[in-house]
Symmetry: C2
Subunit: 618 residues, 2 copies
């Protein structure tokens, strides 16, 4: 989606919006941490994010990678920065092509800072001299595919203080095809308002997005303001200087000052704020809280579908997903990456959806063996595993092998029942409660446009011991309301579903639309998920040394237990799924497995395929 459309939306609806800016970190661990942070900050509801351009080599690569990650895996609408600095036509072309392929539709075209070693900025031989050249080039080569932003300087540029000349440049950039303006940081609201009037007086009508820099520490505040030649109002210094050694106080006062700045800017007819996060969450969050813009029951996050959409190229039309990957969103995108078309909302030929291999990036178990042992301990019996899952349901652990994120809020509704199941050795890996038509604005279950109603069939997915499976199967095989699929590691499928066709388990009814049914249960993708589910458990087992109780226990579960999913088709009934499993309990919750006498048994797993590179050390 083009940024100017989002801005127009904000103006129409009268609901101001905001965006975040990030830059490519220097280390691999830094990149991973930033992705996690971006994902968390996504839930605050930014309309889009910016990724700054890392001029030169590796860091430029990283900008492109981060755009792919944000668009495709995090579902964040992304604006890629692009600078002239040291960039020839070939490099610009390459960057634009990669942005295009990532589904990115917004570029911020900048001249960029001169590389440190050069005194004065010089264009490369075949390169671009000004941001305007870049704007022109992108328009010429990509038509209206990209929305193009350019920088505005309310307080002058570091090598140019002539406001009128800068406005001439701005006018030129807009005339060449730029459609929105992002300003440098500033703290002087009055000057900004004055500048905006001057911009408008020049006949520049493109929307203006003010860049806001929250205050993290006194030192960084001064450093950045100085670096950008940004005037600090006297009142700000008077309030911040006395507490400069108290970071907490600086942030508290800073958030009030910045929020005040934001309010002044909004009062002047601006509808969107762009936050320079400096890759940090706290200072920005404090400003959003002060503005009362953080999501809440009064200000719910509007999500088009119950799962986070990918914005990768060709994926925007995707509107159906199997429920199995609900807690492993990124893995689902990775395994369906080759489906470059979603003409029926799912895939080209729905009868032969080829799921990607398990060794693709983002599919296997994350974390090192050591990290995982630390996180999940060393379970020696089923009861230990039960306890682990109970702790996850109680939000004492934030992820599990089969769930990459903390337990969903809607599970609260059935938390007691889920805990009860796990305590009895019925290990729940996925679930959703029944919902019989609540408003689409419902704080927990809601999604999609307002004035709609959303529905869910109750769903439960469990790991079940072979003994219990036999009992469960006999209880549900002929149940009029329940459909189940069960499979073990070897792939033998049991089901009472009469067809391979999808069973819609989440759907919504909206004004003026067809029924939207974004989540389904179906045989063929369950079998693809089963491979992943057993692989994740096997990866977990391999976090422990051979012949240790944890390794033996997890391997036994993976080798003999069933993965069972059950849908209650009567969405008016919430409890049937739990009633049908009542009274069942694994026979020997406390039994610790003993290593085989001759070590033979382990040979099986040594020959099995491993995706995390850990070998059995018999």
């Amino acid at each position: 989606m083009h940024i100017r459309e989002m801005l127009a939306d904000a103006e129409r609806s009268g609901e101001p919006s905001f965006s975040f800016e990030y830059f490519p970190p220097k280390t691999a661990q830094g990149v991973q941490n930033l992705y996690d942070r971006m994902e968390r900050m996504h839930s605050w509801g930014p309309k889009f994010i910016d990724i700054t351009w890392g001029a030169g080599g590796r860091i430029a690569e990283l900008t492109c990678e981060m755009v792919v990650q944000a668009q495709t895996y995090l579902g964040l609408e992304t604006c890629m920065h692009l600078t002239c600095t040291d960039m020839g036509e070939e490099k610009v072309n390459d960057a634009l092509k990669r942005a295009y392929k990532a589904g990115c539709t917004n570029i911020l075209a900048l001249r960029g800072d001169p590389p440190r070693e050069k005194e004065k900025w010089v264009a490369s031989d075949d390169g671009f001299r000004y941001a305007g050249d870049l704007v022109e080039y992108i328009r010429k080569n990509y038509g209206s595919h990209f929305d193009i932003g350019v920088a505005g300087y309310p307080e002058g540029c570091d090598d140019n203080k002539d406001e009128d000349l800068l406005l001439d440049h701005l006018k030129e950039k807009v005339d060449k095809g730029a459609t929105f303006i992002v300003t440098q940081m500033f703290y002087d609201a009055d000057n900004f308002v004055r500048w905006v009037e001057k911009v408008r007086a020049r006949g520049i009508t493109a929307p203006i997005i003010p860049g806001i820099m929250p205050i993290a520490t006194y030192a960084s505040f001064l450093r950045r303001a100085n670096h950008m030649n940004c005037k600090i109002p006297e009142e700000w210094m008077a309030k911040l200087e006395p507490v400069k050694n108290d970071d907490v106080a600086v942030r508290e006062i800073g958030k009030t000052l910045v929020a005040e700045l934001c309010r002044k800017v909004l009062a002047a007819g601006i509808h969107h704020l762009h936050f320079y996060t400096m890759n940090l969450a706290q200072a920005t969050r404090m400003v959003l809280e002060e503005l009362e813009w953080m999501p809440s029951a009064d200000r719910p996050i509007k999500q088009a579908l119950p799962w986070k959409q990918s914005l990768g190229l060709g994926r925007r039309g995707e509107d159906v997903r199997p429920i199995f990957w609900r807690n492993r969103n990124k893995s689902y995108i990775a395994r369906t990456q080759e489906w470059d078309e979603f003409p029926n909302g799912r895939w080209g030929d729905s009868r032969s959806p080829a799921f990607g291999e398990l060794d693709a990036y983002g599919v296997g178990l994350t974390g090192t063996n050591e990290q995982n042992r630390k996180k999940w301990g060393e379970p020696a019996c089923i009861r230990d595993i039960s306890n682990l899952f109970v702790r996850y349901l109680n939000k004492e652990i934030d992820y599990l092998p089969w769930s990459e994120a903390p337990v969903a809020e809607e599970a609260d509704q059935i938390k007691d029942e889920l805990i009860d199941l796990n305590k009895r050795g019925l290990i729940t890996v996925n679930s959703q409660p029944a919902v019989n038509g609540v408003k689409s604005t419902h704080p927990v279950h809601g999604w999609g446009p307002s004035n709609g109603y959303v529905y869910q069939k109750a769903y439960l997915e469990l790991l079940v011991s072979p003994e219990l499976f036999t009992v469960i199967q006999s209880r549900i095989e002929n149940h009029p309301d329940l459909t189940y699929h069960a499979v073990n590691k070897s792939g033998k499928l049991h089901t009472n579903a009469r067809s391979e066709a999808p069973n819609a388990v989440t759907w919504g009814v909206f004004p003026g639309k067809e029924i939207v049914q974004p989540t389904i249960v179906e045989r063929i993708s369950f079998l693809a998920w089963k491979d992943e589910a057993y692989q994740l458990g096997t990866d977990w087992a391999r976090c422990y040394e051979a012949n240790t109780p944890s390794r033996l226990l997890l391997e036994e579960i993976m080798n003999t237990w069933y993965l069972v999913n059950i849908v209650n088709n009567d969405f008016h009934q919430g409890n049937t799924l739990f009633e049908v499993l009542s009274g069942l309990e694994v026979a020997d919750l406390n039994k610790v497995p003993e290593p085989p006498v001759n070590g033979e048994a382990n040979g099986v797993y040594q020959n099995g395929h491993s995706t995390n590179g850990v070998k059995a050390s018999t």
Copy 2:
């Protein structure tokens, strides 16, 4: 669907089923009457119908035509009879090809009666001698496309009384590929049961369908029994002979005797009865009533979708239709006949559905001008039209220009509101009440598999005078729950719908399935319907002489009024549609239009296109 599958269904479910046989009538009027009768009898729930083969020329043609009509327009699963009599390979091929193209998948292969003028039956030179040859030929050329039935003779064949020889023939026909057996008529249940045992003893396992001949009059009863050499039990004669001159008494006693016969047959393990209707409804209906097999709240008709599906070739996958043609089913099929694929349930490229022209068979107004004047009178003012529509809603008239069938049962729920609207000059041409999730077995609103829930958004389609339209538009333009489309004859569209995408107005949630949404409202097909709606009104106007009040009135309505549809997207609310129209009334309900002084005004309609060939006679 193959007949043997329907029979297997009946056996599995333990719910006996039935079918009707018809023959090609001699006159065109007879054909039209029979189609109407077939459609009425369709609502009794036959699993399929048979069309007998009219040996030779025109009548053979008619059989093929009737198969097309039944499959495509009436949605009746049809079994086409085919005989050897006078049929060479070319003729057989032609008939099979036409059956195939009609979507027909069942053939009854017969030897056929010898033509009257020939003493003994002789095969044509390149023809088939026995039904078995025909079976073999169909299997060879069409594989398993057709289910093939053959005749069984529990009381012998008219030129062959040797039961064992006839059983040899039957065995041979089944061995050659026949999959079900339909018997000649009989009244001797015991003999039938004995014969079935003998058939089974021969190793013939194909299902047997007894042919049942209801009793209409004493004369026809005797004539048919004699013609078929069918033994009449003494008890039957004893009961019928004394009342032979009292047709009513004959039918009353006859229905009891035939129903008794049916019960004996069913008790012997038969699950399906085939009725020789002789193209008449009453005698068959009386037997079905006696058996308590007529549809009722206890025995509801099971319909897969809320509208009658076409069984034409390539149309069985169709599962979405615009609501506009709900009362003109056949016209919709005619106008979408060229859509030979329904890959997304509707049409290949949903953005360019080319609707057929208005002059196709079955699209225009049916009935002669005289018949229509007789049916609908000579309305001279809006109040007369209002009264006509009120009478339709009160079931005193069984069709209107825009509704080919009596008002739907579900309209009862909103009958008072609809009558009130019409009385105020808001002419309702289509409607459905809101339904917020009733069981799919609901006697009025239900459709689809059991254990499901069905929903509807309230819908209203009206003809509205230009003055009232302005008021209505201002009332609903910004209503949060209502979407409307309005258009006049010239095609100017008014709407508050934000997109051209379909709005689902009927949908169902079923176990183990995606959400089914068989009825929609959408812009592009509304514009196609609008052409038809205005044409129908114009056709009606032309039933009256030029310058008569009726002609002038109807022409004025067609030329100036709006066709308006309104959906209440909040399916929890039933009355909003009527509330929003409350208090509105056409200004001059009783005004009779006067002819123009110089006759000029009529020129407009003279140049308009006419589909019923009636010209303005100024």
